[in-house]
């Protein structure tokens, strides 16, 4: 599906926000109310909330670290102006009759040659419980998850949850 093709009978929204962890709670609130609007129950809404939080946290923490934009960097290595670095985080939401598709787009370093997330909780604990849980949550909490890496730059994460859930993990 092309990013710009509208689907019939859907509502298509997009939100742009700055690369700051402060926005996470705002985005969670937004996605939670959208999920309720589509008709997901509380448990499914919790999963969507968490998947979006993890995905956006990853963009904020990892996508622009090479440009000095990441909360994980020490003060001295932070870019003076994150806006100047043209870093973007876009959340596109496609509300369907029986699904919610969330597309998270950044124009950062991309995930191609990066340490992958864990595939199981065992792997997570073996690695010392320090990381890799985010992508694991995303894959387990959503019904369909796809990562794309456009030629130019960045990562496009497309994740879908269906109302009559075929979730793998509950």
């Amino acid at each position: 599906m092309s990013l710009n093709t509208p689907m019939p009978d859907t509502i298509d929204l997009e939100i742009r926000c700055p690369i700051e962890t402060r926005v996470l709670s705002i985005l969670r609130n937004f996605v939670t109310s959208i999920a309720a609007y589509v008709g997901f129950n509380a448990e499914e809404t919790d999963k969507i909330e968490m998947a979006v939080d993890e995905a956006c946290a990853n963009v904020i923490r990892h996508a622009y670290k090479h440009l000095g934009v990441s909360p994980d960097l020490p003060e001295a290595e932070q870019a003076e102006d994150a806006n100047a670095a043209q870093c973007t985080l876009r959340l596109r939401l496609v509300l369907g009759e029986d699904f919610l598709k969330i597309i998270i787009i950044d124009n950062g370093i991309g995930m191609k040659n990066r340490p992958p997330g864990v595939d199981s909780l065992e792997e997570y604990t073996e690695r010392g419980g320090t990381g890799g849980l985010g992508t694991y949550i995303i894959k387990n909490f959503m019904d369909e998850v796809e990562y794309d890496f456009p030629e130019e730059s960045g990562t496009i994460l497309t994740m879908t949850k269906y109302l009559i859930s075929t979730a793998k993990s509950s």
């Binding site: 709670s25 993890e54 946290a57 604990t125 694991y136």
Partner: protein, 118 residues
């Protein structure tokens, strides 16, 4: 909107553990302050730590990793981390992901004392 607060209770006579209440959400934003406070507390040679999750409304992988970090640091000094009364929402996350097998979780104040080994 304040969506995070931490309450580190004073040491109490006759109580072998330190109790900390986490209020609000523990995500990539708030976890920074949480880790800082908790690691300072551990610097005081605390070995038995009880984190009260009764008022924790949300936890992300960043929050879970922080709890894992505390678990490891406490084990290194033969101490232990116990989690008290997580909200339904947080408990469900732990359960779904399998962390109920990793963390020691206690549902009632009366079980706290016994839950710390040794």
């Amino acid at each position: 909107m304040k969506n995070y607060d931490l309450n580190i209770q004073d040491p109490q006579d006759g109580v072998a553990f330190r109790k900390v209440d986490v209020i609000g959400c523990l995500d990539s934003h708030t976890v920074v302050g949480f880790e800082k406070s908790l690691h300072s507390l551990l610097d005081e040679d605390v070995t038995k730590l009880l984190i009260n999750l009764e008022q924790l409304t949300y936890i992300s992988s960043a929050g879970i990793s922080a709890l894992m970090g505390l678990t490891h640091r406490l084990r290194q000094r033969d101490g232990e981390l116990v989690l008290l009364k997580p909200t339904d929402k947080v408990h469900r996350v732990f359960r779904t992901l399998g962390f109920t097998n990793i963390f020691k979780i206690v549902e009632d104040d009366s079980e706290v004392e016994a839950s710390f080994k040794g």
